[in-house]
């Protein structure tokens, strides 16, 4: 320590820069393990997929605006809605939340990186390569066309002989690796890399939500990986898992798929709740009311979400008694959501609301989620579900939940956190315009779909006959979707403009409470020169002079001060009360994650084209990568 103190602040800053800065240009791009770079990259990449899927949605609407339209044929239409759903779920919603989690988690926890920085890079590369893998299907003219849940037997080799479904099945397995690895990283980071004093009851709600999400991923994603793997085994190797003629079961696929599929809704929704629960208190200028209630609700949602999957199969002819059980369980999940509403209301009630753009988006979220939650209760009532499942009512419901209640918080989060990431504020004026355009457009687009469903319009039809009373509402829906799309573009404009014209953000532009606002904007490479010592749930509000730790002599505290940052290390703390425990060395830049992901991509390509040589080559590359990785990992240093 004495050594450090002899040097000037500039010298230290310079040395920190030397230690933490990635190599410039292409090498640094592929080798970085910085959670901030990876997090932002996740967000950018996910938004590219968001706009691709948005364009697909507009094509869908163009085709459905008038009866018997011929904008795209049935084949193209089926590909469009399949890829729209697949992209939004697997390539936008999940990764964009992982991106925010990646960027924010270490900052909110007060540490210098994720627990496994190289795995973090790996999960990004797998995500982007899986996305490219799925979209290669467009280049060869064979995009998946079996719907985003790809029910058998429609998707077996007999009924879908083309390579289309293989892009889907293999892509889902591939991207699942990314999600799972990311979840492991979130869990371990949350438990082991917290700033001293940040005991488990002081975690920001966003961290809680990411933790709940990660646990849901750990227990749910294996089911969809299995479903897709068995589907591909049936398709590629002729096994009989889902082939009724050989004793298999088509319903088994549905059970496996929805065992993941329903928690997945909450995997997307819970982090969005976490974001809103960060923004509402900040813009109500007071601590969240009922923190414990909110945490309990997040945990309860995570648990209950595993007991409701059969409600996606209410029309499949299961025994009525079993269905009644799942119907009741589906009703119960409304209770934690109700608690969350009253937590937010109590927070705003006792605070003083500031109408910033992030708050507007949170506000829009409240009204949209309220509607989506209520229709969610309706569709869990068994007989009613028999009428509306697979109709436009369901399309409306899940867009209220997955688009409204997830995308609105994400857009709010862009306005809220991008200033931290880029150092520049986004235009409030464009933000408001974007919000109102999205909010009005959203409701005009999706509300009438409820009515269309009740009027008998099934989902996934590429056209409909005249005279069924669906014409007017379909025109309204299309108009709304255009307005919604316009609103999203306005945010892109605000985003791009902020890079050159945005006002400098400063450390804490919103006067917020969590640790990410204690560092400069954009965040320095090392996050915290010295790790903050936390004594409150709202450190920046309650600890006027946020204390910084100094490095001690023992293994547990030696990396807490500036010497830790200089040594590229970060402290590991105890699981519940975040006391000093160990020190972790943060790995340097490496190509290994990219190499391993590339090997997997080659392996899946080999399966896709059913070429043993390519598959084996990919496996060899991946294995070499893994072994090299295992060999070089000096985990024993700790």
């Amino acid at each position: 320590m004495a050594v450090v103190e002899e040097r000037s602040a500039e010298e230290i800053e310079h040395e920190l820069h030397e230690v933490w800065e990635d190599a410039p240009g292409i090498p640094g791009f592929f080798a970085t393990v910085d959670h901030k770079r990876i997090g932002m990259r996740y967000i950018y990449t996910a938004f590219i997929f968001f706009f691709i899927a948005g364009v697909q949605a507009l094509f869908i609407r163009a085709q459905l605006t008038v009866p018997e339209a011929d904008v795209v044929g049935p084949e193209t239409y089926n590909q469009l809605f399949t890829m729209h759903g697949t992209t939004m779920i697997f390539l936008f919603n999940t990764p964009v939340l992982a991106g925010f989690g990646n960027y924010l988690l270490p900052l909110q926890l007060g540490t210098r990186d994720m627990a496994f920085p190289r795995l973090n890079a790996f999960s990004y590369w797998v995500f982007v390569l899986a996305g490219i893998f799925m979209y290669t299907s467009y280049l060869v003219g064979a995009p998946p066309d079996g719907g985003w849940f790809a029910y058998l037997p429609l998707t077996d080799k007999v009924n879908s002989p083309g390579v289309n479904l293989d892009f889907w099945g293999l892509g889902v397995i591939f991207v699942g690796i990314s999600t799972t690895v990311g979840a492991i990283n979130f869990i371990v980071t949350t438990f082991k890399l917290r700033a001293p004093g940040m005991s488990i009851n002081r975690l920001p709600l966003f961290v809680w939500s990411i933790l709940a999400m990660a646990f849901m991923i750990i227990f749910a994603v294996p089911a969809v990986t299995l479903a897709a793997a068995l589907l591909e085994a049936d398709r590629l190797f002729g096994t009989a898992f889902f082939d009724v003629a050989r004793g298999g079961s088509a319903l088994l696929y549905q059970h496996l798929f929805w065992f993941w599929g329903h928690p997945e809704v909450y995997i997307l929704f819970v982090p969005a709740v976490g974001m809103v629960s960060m923004m509402i208190p900040v813009f109500s200028r007071r601590a969240v009311s009922g923190y414990v209630w909110a945490v309990g609700s997040l945990v309860a949602i995570a648990f209950i979400s595993f007991g409701v999957w059969v409600h996606h199969m209410f029309a499949a002819g299961l025994p009525a008694l079993a269905m009644s059980f799942f119907s009741a369980a589906s009703l119960v999940i409304a209770i934690p959501s109700g608690v969350l509403f009253f937590v937010w209301i109590a927070t705003m009630w006792q605070g003083r609301v500031r109408w910033t753009t992030p708050m507007l988006f949170s506000f829009g979220f409240l009204f949209i989620f309220l509607a989506g939650g209520l229709t969610g209760v309706m569709v869990s009532v068994l007989p009613f579900d028999w009428q509306v499942t697979d109709s436009y009512f369901i399309v409306a419901h899940f867009h209220y939940v997955l688009n409204g209640a997830v995308v609105f918080p994400i857009f709010g989060a862009l306005y809220f956190w991008l200033p931290k990431m880029t150092g520049r504020m986004l235009s409030e004026r464009l933000g408001r315009l974007s919000f109102w355009s999205m909010f009005v457009g959203f409701n005009v687009a999706f509300f009438p779909m409820h009515v269309l469903g009740l009027l008998g319009m099934p989902r996934r039809v590429y056209t409909y006959a005249e005279g069924l009373g669906w014409e007017t509402l379909n025109v309204v829906v299309t108009a709304g979707s255009l307005l919604f799309g316009l609103g999203t573009l306005l945010t892109v404009v605000a985003w791009v403009m902020s890079r050159s014209r945005g006002a400098p953000a400063g450390d804490n532009p919103w006067d917020a409470d969590s640790l990410e606002w204690s560092v400069a904007s954009p965040t320095p490479h090392y996050n915290f020169r010295a790790i903050p010592v936390v004594a409150s749930r709202h450190p920046l509000w309650d600890q006027q002079l946020l204390p910084e730790a100094i490095s001690g002599d023992d293994e547990g505290t030696r990396s807490m001060g500036t010497p830790g940052a200089l040594a590229d290390e970060t402290p590991i703390t105890t699981g519940l009360d975040a006391g000093a425990e160990e020190t972790m060395e943060i790995p340097r830049e490496t190509y290994l994650p990219f190499l391993l992901a590339l090997g997997l991509a080659v392996f899946f390509t080999g399966l896709l084209v059913e070429a043993v040589v390519i598959g084996v080559a990919g496996l060899v590359v991946a294995t070499i990568g893994l072994l090299w990785w295992a060999w070089r990992t000096e985990a024993d240093l700790v």
């Binding site: 627990a115 082939d243 059970h255 023992d554 505290t557 985990a635």
Partner: protein, 198 residues
Amino acid sequence: MTTAVAVPPASPRRRTYPTGWWGMVVLIMTEAMIFAGLLSSYFFVRAISPEWPLGHIEPPELKRISLFTVVLLGSSVPIFWAESAIRKGNQRGLRLGLLLSFLLGAIFMANLFFEYEELHFGVRDNAYASLYYAITGLHGLHVFVGLVMNLVVQIKAWQGKFTASRHLTVEIFGLYWHFVDVVWIFVFSSLYVSVGHW
């Protein structure tokens, strides 16, 4: 504007569980779900089938597989020895424990291949056959990965890279290997004991 404070040091006697250990635990949770899903699929298909095994496939014979079950479960014991040896700094015990465990695992693996050779049904025959191969194959893959991990750890052990205080790799590998063994108990009781004959 900030104040600097010293954080109380870690309590020295407390056993620590670093990130790598936690990472393996969470990985095992998600892997366990894959096996749970496959075994659930097995029982789901079995429940809707008029006969089991399907298509007049002979139920598995239990004598031989029971013997090799003992071999596989037995391979966990040397891992315990190896771990307790290195905690005392005993390099020889570590190396021998790892080696013995490797040999037992390899014997189990070899039996799997011989068993596949002798089976009178193929993976495409029916859903029972597909599930049988999928479950035993996935478990076999885990044994194989465990053996490869064992090799990596063993090479490091023979190079003397582990000490009484630094041997996290051994513990992480041990977790994984015990998991592979525990999963086998479920596979064995579902695929063999519940249908097989002596």
